[in-house]
Structures are given as structure tokens and as C-alpha cells.
Subunit: 221 residues, 3 copies
């Protein structure tokens, strides 16, 4: 705990905005998942909050720093407000799932930069920074899909985790290269979002694992 | 950690009974889920323990206080005893799922009060108290349903999360109003249980999200 | 935190090898699950890492000791290497699922010993040691199955949790009996693996819960 005490005043500073944005858009995806499941308003608040703060909670527990929303309640209130807003507005949306995916892309990109930033600040290790950026960027969406009983975004063919990892790697490299935090974070956000956005827009995907030939002798080339 | 050290001797005091009760009945719901899945006796012990102590573990990790069952092993032994009891007795039950739901209602109500109490004691913040009460009251059931592969209690139409949130809010208000902890906890428990019990008994549910009209022009009013 | 500071230099010592082995084989099962789901290479890295380090992360959070892979990045790099290896080699395998189950048995047995060892070192309590050994040995597989959307290994009839619990109990007993850690760990590993291996090889299972007679009067004996 000692070496991390300074994190109580973690100098997110100008990253704060990106942080709120990440939480808010993840919260919106949680609320949209609730709308797809036809939950009641408290179900909206619940899924919005869990999705919005889940990834960061996990990040802070692993880094052994105080959980961000316990220190600053505004995050929870933002999630609640978003949940309520979506409850009353979601019926106006043309395609809720498409919006969910794009908002998820924004939230994931923001968390990818912030997870790497907080991991770097807490440990100084590039490996930890990249892992934390990747895990916490993807965790909110995983949690949302598990709780809402939706097929996980992880198992879809379009590039997802790669974008999170690329964002975290860009932040880490820029940070090691001496760039100020906000610049590194913006670069990281842009990288992750460009990759995930391209995947959503153009269906980008990696060659997936090529299954081994079947067992029947005829199938073997 | 420093500001929370006093929690090592968290004065649950007279709340202790409610705490054991909450853990025990959640453990029983885990064991009943195991019986529905026809697991062996160790599966009963496992699901009973995970369901019984899951919510509180999560609560203590987030509040950065020592995990309750690491400090006091009696909780684990209670879960194990309950798991074994249900293994040998469950075949006598008329309707295991109905019992599961009612026990879950008791456990959820107890955890709602205790989560809020511990959140308030650890941080002094009403927002954190309400969120902790709500999250930890619902977490045990979510975990049980995920592990047992059952449809989540969250996605059912009957009021659930609302009851947890109402209990947590009542505790917090009563606590801020100066009531002693046991009285606040009893009020909170009664509130949560009355709401959830009503939902189970009379099928109470909120108006759920009204789906937007379909995309076909004919459907649009 | 104070009483656990010494764990920063937790004397795994000669257990280190078992620790790496457990992480590596769990990582391999994650990668094999990725191959069954036909994910891309980053999906392999991701599932390998989450499965490999998930159980230990959970263990360290509950024991309130620094998360092992944050202290020593080699674990993460091992997972990444294994993920990559499996991506390029899995198509050569005869039966990926069978291999997954056997590797899972090795990883589970290793984690069962190590979870108990770390639980014992951190708290000195046999109950905590047995619970930590059991939970963390099974957690990696649970996480993998949840994330990959596979039926949980917990819900299969063959003995699983019992093997983990037996390993943890053997470590704890041997430790209390004064055996040196490596000997206790080897005994525990061998016990857990023998039980789980027997279950895989010979289909060992406990009598499962005997369902109560149906509700129709004719069915009642």
C-alpha cells in the first residue's frame, strides 16, 4: 500500500474528462443492453452502473489503489443519470444495438488509455500498463454481456481485444517516450478507436484460427 | 488502508446475527441451485459457499477492509453445514425453486442492510452506502445463477434490484437520522423484504421499458 | 496490510516452478478454448492470460497481498507465449478438448497446492488455506468457461471440486504436521491430480443428489 499512497491523489488532471466520458458511454451501453432485455428502470440503473464502473473497479482492486468511485461519487451519479436518460429515450433510437457497439468502442478506447495510465502510474511497469489497459478496457463489456445474458463481444469475429491492446501499447510507448499524459492518452484513444471503428465499419478481422482438418481420412488433403 | 484500520474491529455487534442469517440463507439458495443441477455433495458445498460469501467478499474488496470470512471462519463453516444439510434434505422439499426464491429474498434483504452499514462505516458516504448495499445484496444471486447456468434473477420481470436499493436507502437515511445501527438495519431489512416478498407473492413489477415501435411503417402510430 | 507485508517476499522459493507450471497449463487450456471458439490470435492471448492468471489474481485480492503478476511480469509473458504457441500448434492436435481437460487437471492440482500454501502463509488458518486452495484451483476454469461460453466444468458429473479440496486439505495437513513446503505441495499436487485424473480416466463420480420423487401421486412409491 505504501508506495501507492500518492495515488490517492492520482494526477488524472486533464485526463478526468476522458475518464468521465469512458464511464458514461459504458454506462450507456449497459442501459442499452437493459433496454434490449426489457428491464425496468432500476434494471437500467443497475446495468448502467455495473457496466460503467466495473472495469475501473477491477483495475483499482488489482493495482491496490482506492476504488475510484468510492473516492469520487460523481461517477456513480453519472451512471445513474445515464441509465435514466436511456430509459426514457431508448425507444426513439433507430438501432439500439448498433449504437451500443459504437458507444462501447468509445468507452473501450477511453478505458484502454486510462487503464494503461493508471497501471503505469501505480507500478511503472510497461507490461503491467499494457495488461491493465487491455483487461480493464474489455472488462466492462464482458461484465455487461454476462449479466445481460448476451453473446459476449469477445467471441465475435470483428477485432476487439486487439484495439484495446493497441491503445494501451501506444499510451505506454508514448509515456516512455516522454510525452505528457494527456497527449499520450489522446494518441492511445485515437489508435484504439480507429482500429475498433474500422472493425465495426468495415468488418475488419484477423485470420482466425484455422481449424485442423477433420478426422475422417477423406477430409485430409 | 489507514482510515479503515478501525474496521478490523468493525462493530457489527448486534448486527452479527443478521450477518450470519444472510450468509446462511444465501448458502442455502446456492445448495438448492446445486440440487436442481444434480451435483454431488462437494458441488453443494461449493455452490453454497460461493453464494453465501460471494457478495460480502466483493463488498470487502471494494471497501478495502479485510475479507470477513478470512477474519472469522465461522462463516465458511456455516456455509459448509448448510450445503450438507440441503444435500440430505432437499429431496423432501415440495418446491425447491420457490424456496430458493424466498430464501434469496431474505438473504438479499439482510445483505442490503449490512452492505449499506459496512459501506457507511467505511466511508461515511451515503452514495457509497447505497451502492454497496445494492451491489452486494444482488451479487450473491448473480454469482449463483452464473455458476449454476440458471437464468439470472436480474432478468426476471419481478422487482428485485429495487428492493435491494430501497433497503440500502432506508438504512442510510435512518443512519443519517441518528437511529442506532440495529434499528436502522431492521428497518432496512423489513423494507427490502416487504418489497421483494410482495413481488414474489403478487407478481409486482414496474412498468418495463416500452419497446419502440417496430420499423415497419404500418406499426408506427 | 501490515501483518502481510512480509508476503511481498513470499517465500515460494522452490514452489516457484510449480507456480509457473500451474499458470502455464491453465493458460494453455484458455488458448485451447479459444481455438475451439475459432478466435483470432489476440483472442488466444487474451483467454490464455485471463485463464492463466485469473485464479491467482482472485487469491491475492482476497488475501490482500500484492497481485502476483503485478510483482513479477514473467507470468504474463508466459501466458502470452503459451497463447501464441497454441495458436500455431493447435491444429496439429488430435483431440483438443481432451488435452484441455488433462492440462486443466494439472493446473488445478498445482493451484490447489499453491492456493493453500499462500492462504496458510498469509493467515495461518487451516480453514482459510483449504478454502483458498479450493476456490483458486477452480476459479481459472470457471472463468475460462464463462468467457468462452462453454458449459462449466463444475456442472459435469465427474469429480472436480473434490480433487481441488482434497489437494488443499493434504497441503494444510502436511504443513501443520511440519513437512517442508515443497514436500507438502508435492503431496497435495499428487493427491489432487490422482483424484481428478482418475475421474477423467475412469469416469469417477460421486453419487449425485438423488432427485425427490415427482409430484404426481403415481410416481410416489
Amino acid at each position: 500500500m505504501f508506495p501507492f499512497q500518492s495515488l490517492l491523489s492520482f494526477p488524472l488532471g486533464s485526463l478526468q474528462l476522458l475518464d468521465y466520458a469512458g464511464v458514461a458511454v459504458f454506462a450507456a451501453t449497459g442501459a442499452l443492453a437493459a433496454s434490449r432485455k426489457q428491464l425496468d428502470i432500476v434494471g437500467f440503473l443497475f446495468l448502467a452502473s455495473v457496466t460503467g464502473i466495473g472495469g475501473g473497479t477491477f483495475r483499482d482492486l488489482i493495482l491496490d489503489v482506492p476504488v475510484f468511485w468510492v473516492l469520487d461519487h460523481a461517477y456513480v451519479l453519472v451512471c445513474a443519470a445515464i441509465g435514466m436518460l436511456v430509459f426514457f429515450a431508448a425507444h426513439r433510437l433507430e438501432s439500439r444495438y448498433k449504437l451500443l457497439l459504437w458507444l462501447d468502442a468509445i468507452g473501450m478506447s477511453a478505458y484502454s488509455a486510462l487503464g494503461a495510465a493508471k497501471g503505469m502510474a501505480a507500478t511503472g511497469s510497461p507490461v503491467v500498463a499494457i495488461v491493465m489497459g487491455t483487461l480493464t478496457a474489455t472488462f466492462g463489456g464482458i461484465l455487461r454481456d454476462l449479466l445481460a445474458g448476451e453473446p459476449s463481444v469477445l467471441l465475435k469475429p470483428e477485432i476487439y481485444v486487439t484495439a484495446a491492446m493497441a491503445g494501451a501499447a501506444v499510451f505506454t510507448a508514448a509515456d516512455l517516450g516522454g510525452l505528457p499524459d494527456p497527449a499520450s492518452a489522446l494518441l492511445a484513444f485515437a489508435t484504439a478507436f480507429a482500429i475498433r471503428g474500422g472493425a465495426l465499419k468495415f468488418g475488419w478481422c484477423f485470420p482466425t484460427y484455422r481449424s485442423r482438418p477433420g478426422r475422417h481420412p477423406d477430409d485430409i488433403p
